[in-house]
């Protein structure tokens, strides 16, 4: 994402929050805590993004979290059996909003939330809970993944490749990661209906070495671009793409969650990350905090998709080119107005002939 776009976003948000006569109240009216598993906010993925949204709400920055500890903070829980007791402990403190990051928290929150009817909660990546005090943020990852798939395919066509092949590396299989994979395939196939496609699941979020070995094998066999939705595992794909681009080969990695452009830089101004699928968890946490402040908080599911900027694609790599950016933006507009339909599930995609048989994606 360019500086300009960020500025536009920031400006829009400022207008949104301060719009109308009478300035909005002080953000410090709402205290909050972010609860994560043992990894904490250093996962370079959604916990980090959730934290960024909190920082944005309080007007702080990553390197200078001034209100941390006083207004907001993050709390890690070392193992899953401690989710429930820790959530109760935090709820006892009576914060304005308790944010739990990740679907692994669903049963713990379902157990605790009814015991604290006055406490408001936000859970990320979940949309199957019930309760007037649970706000659930769900993301249309398939829409954002469609955009990066389209971008990669258009780049291959611009490079004059007749029959390019594409790869997908996932973390632990499951319906969330399947949405990334299905979007990626459908984006590619909208350009190359018969594109060759391979996928691999590392069964881990923190094993970059597995992704690197797989990426190497695939690039060697002629794969053009690989999209990883695997947390830190995906850094292996980027590392391999950097190595190969440095030695002059035309292969690409595609980033996920945040803009991974900088992670892919291998030479002056050149990055092996063609684009990144952006999952804006920060928007969800910031939105929830603001809704607690202005009293509009509701216990229901909020879908974050292309239409409300919840998912997007990154345009920081100049090699993407204006033409491709324009074409992908047109597709984004199509998703928003409904003229482009992206299906999230593997079974559905298969039945519509949008995805090949024999992939490792799972719908449960």
């Amino acid at each position: 994402m360019t500086i300009r776009t960020i500025c536009v976003f920031a400006a829009l948000m400022t207008i949104a929050s301060c719009g109308g006569p009478g300035k909005a109240d002080d953000p410090s009216d709402v205290t909050s805590r972010l609860m994560t598993d043992a990894t904490g906010i250093d996962d370079e993925s959604f916990s980090a993004a959730g934290w960024k949204g909190m920082l944005a709400y309080y007007g702080d920055s990553w390197d200078n979290p001034e209100g941390k500890g006083r207004l907001y903070d993050w709390i890690t829980v070392p193992s899953h059996d401690l989710f429930v007791p820790s959530l109760k402990q935090v709820s006892d403190q009576g914060y304005g909003l308790v944010i739990v990051s990740g679907f692994m928290w669903d049963t713990a929150l379902a157990e605790v939330a009814p015991l604290y009817p006055g406490q408001k909660y936000l859970i990320i990546d979940v949309k199957w809970l019930d309760g007037p005090n649970i706000m659930q943020a769900s993301f249309a990852e398939h829409e954002g993944s469609y955009l990066v798939g389209l971008a990669a395919a258009l780049k291959a066509r611009a490079d004059g490749i007749a029959t390019p092949r594409f790869g997908f590396i996932g973390g632990v299989p499951g319906r969330v990661i399947t949405r990334f994979e299905m979007g990626w395939i459908q984006g590619i196939r909208s350009v190359y209906p018969d594109a060759g496609f391979v996928d691999y699941y590392a069964n881990a979020w923190n094993k970059p070495e597995l992704a690197k070995a797989q990426a190497r094998a695939w690039y060697d066999s002629g794969v053009y671009a690989i999209f990883s939705a695997a947390g830190a595992t995906g850094n292996g794909t980027i590392a391999q793409a950097k190595e190969y681009r440095l030695s002059g080969r035309n292969v690409w990695a595609v980033g996920v969650d945040g803009d991974q452009h900088r992670a892919g830089v291998y030479a002056d101004g050149k990055s092996a990350v063609l684009t990144s699928m952006l999952k804006r968890v920060d928007r969800a946490t910031e939105y929830a905090l603001r809704s607690v402040r202005d009293g509009s908080f509701e216990g229901r599911v909020y879908e974050f998709g292309a239409a409300n900027g919840g998912v997007d694609f990154a345009v920081s790599n100049p090699e993407l080119g204006d033409a491709i950016v324009a074409a992908v933006n047109a597709a984004k507009a199509g998703i928003i107005d409904g003229s482009v339909v992206v299906v999230p599930g593997y079974a559905e995609a298969k039945s519509l002939g949008l995805a090949p048989d024999g992939l490792m994606a799972r719908d449960d």
Binding site: R33, A38, G40, K68, G69, D73, W74, I75, T76, V77, P78, S79, H80, D81, L82, V84, P85, S86, K88, Q89, V90, D92, Q93, M104, T107, L115, V172, P173, G174, A204, R362, D364
Partner: protein, 386 residues
């Protein structure tokens, strides 16, 4: 040992000596010292040492000093968190008394956890009986997994250290594979476990204000008692301690060290398996496909060290480490880094492993040759028993 013979020339030397006279006293002193050091670290890290002690007070008693409220639930949660730590500590400690280094409590814990989940999902949901059978399955699976390492050592001379480390990974991946094969299981959890398999006790929940405290905690106390009785009051326990202290002498005395080793590892595995059951049936209402180690087995090593590999010592150490774990969220709420609980545990373990040195120091300062005998494999009949 008669302490009055020591001339009271230097007051604090006598104090130090008295402190190191028994394991229990030393343990308490070292735990206190560890906490003080923790307060220092908290201050250095920019947090408030007061916050640390408030968090610990709240975790132990339920008294929230900042908001002036009392909530009994915290006590229940503390005991519940301590449960698997006590049990894996007993696992490590039991093997240590036989001279075996059981790094495999994590794998035995996973074996027990997995067996408990399977029994919970597949056995008929008969009240009371169901939970008993689940626990029995966990004990058996843990015992088999531990016994396997003991057998490999007895039969092939395989180092139990290497064998148990490898069995940890084997248990982990086997558990993942088997659990995912359960119909209706996703990549991270199984269908719900029936209430009849769970270790909740209604009256305990009511008494402890809705905490997670269940039968598991009492099973852990029972296990500590069993640990003491087996080692101190049975022939097998004698054989076990003897081969731990001197395998050659034990063999010459007619003890079969191979058999003793298998027995010790089976029991150690059963303790860890019970820890697995206490978590699987006490903290969750569904089975889990593990995505990483829960780490209770590894923490058990520190618990056993701190507890001097004695039943009641391990129980006390498990409670202490459980207190730290249970206070961790509260500490973070007070702006104290999450690593602090780990740092305090580390300091305590290091200080405890220096016990012998401290005793000798006290002896030199006090002018008499006193040495507190201590180590993870203590002599039989020393200290305060069991």
């Amino acid at each position: 040992m008669d302490r009055r013979a020591v001339p009271a020339k230097i007051g604090w030397a006598v104090f130090l000596e008295r402190l190191t006279a028994t394991d229990a006293r030393l343990g308490v002193a070292v735990a206190g010292l560890g906490l003080l050091a923790g307060g220092l670290v908290a201050a250095l890290a920019g947090g408030s040492p007061l916050g640390l002690f408030r968090a610990l007070l709240q975790a132990a008693t339920g008294w929230d000093a900042a908001r002036q409220v009392w909530n009994i639930r915290y006590v229940g949660e503390w005991l519940a968190v301590a449960t698997p730590l006590i049990l894996t500590g007993l696992s490590m400690g039991f093997a240590a008394r036989a001279g075996l280094f059981n790094i495999g409590a994590e794998g035995q814990y996973i074996a027990g956890l997995t067996a408990a989940q399977f029994a919970a999902l597949y056995l008929p949901p008969v009240p009371v009986l169901h939970a008993f059978l689940c626990v029995a399955a966990a004990l058996a699976a843990g015992a088999v997994w531990g016994g396997l390492a003991g057998w490999l050592k007895a039969r092939f001379g395989a180092s139990e250290v290497v064998a148990t480390i490898m069995l940890n990974y084997l248990a982990f991946y086997l558990s993942r594979w088997l659990t995912q094969a359960i119909p209706g299981a996703t990549t991270y959890r199984t269908p719900a476990i029936p209430a009849s398999a769970q270790l909740d006790a209604g009256f305990l929940k009511t008494l402890s204000g809705g905490s997670n405290l269940g039968w598991g905690f009492f099973a852990a106390l029972g296990a500590a008692l069993l640990f003491w009785w087996l080692l101190e009051r049975t022939r097998m326990g004698y054989a076990l301690r003897a081969s731990g202290l001197n395998p050659d002498a034990a063999m010459a005395g007619g003890i079969n060290p191979g058999r003793v080793g298998i027995f010790a590892m089976c029991l150690a595995g059963a303790f860890a398996g019970l820890a697995g059951a206490s978590v699987a049936l006490g903290s969750f209402n569904h089975g889990r496909v593990l995505s990483e180690f829960d780490n209770y087995g590894f923490m058990g090593i520190a618990v056993a060290l701190a507890g001097g590999a004695r039943g009641f010592g391990v129980a006390a150490a498990g409670l202490f480490f459980g207190l730290l774990a249970s206070a961790q969220t509260l500490m973070q709420g007070q702006g104290i880094p999450r690593e602090l609980a780990v740092i305090v545990s580390g300091i305590v373990v290091i200080l405890l492993s220096m016990k012998a040195g401290l005793g000798a120091l006290a002896g030199r300062l006090g002018g008499s040759a006193v040495g507190a005998p201590c180590d993870a494999r203590p002599e039989p009949g020393e200290g305060n028993g069991g």
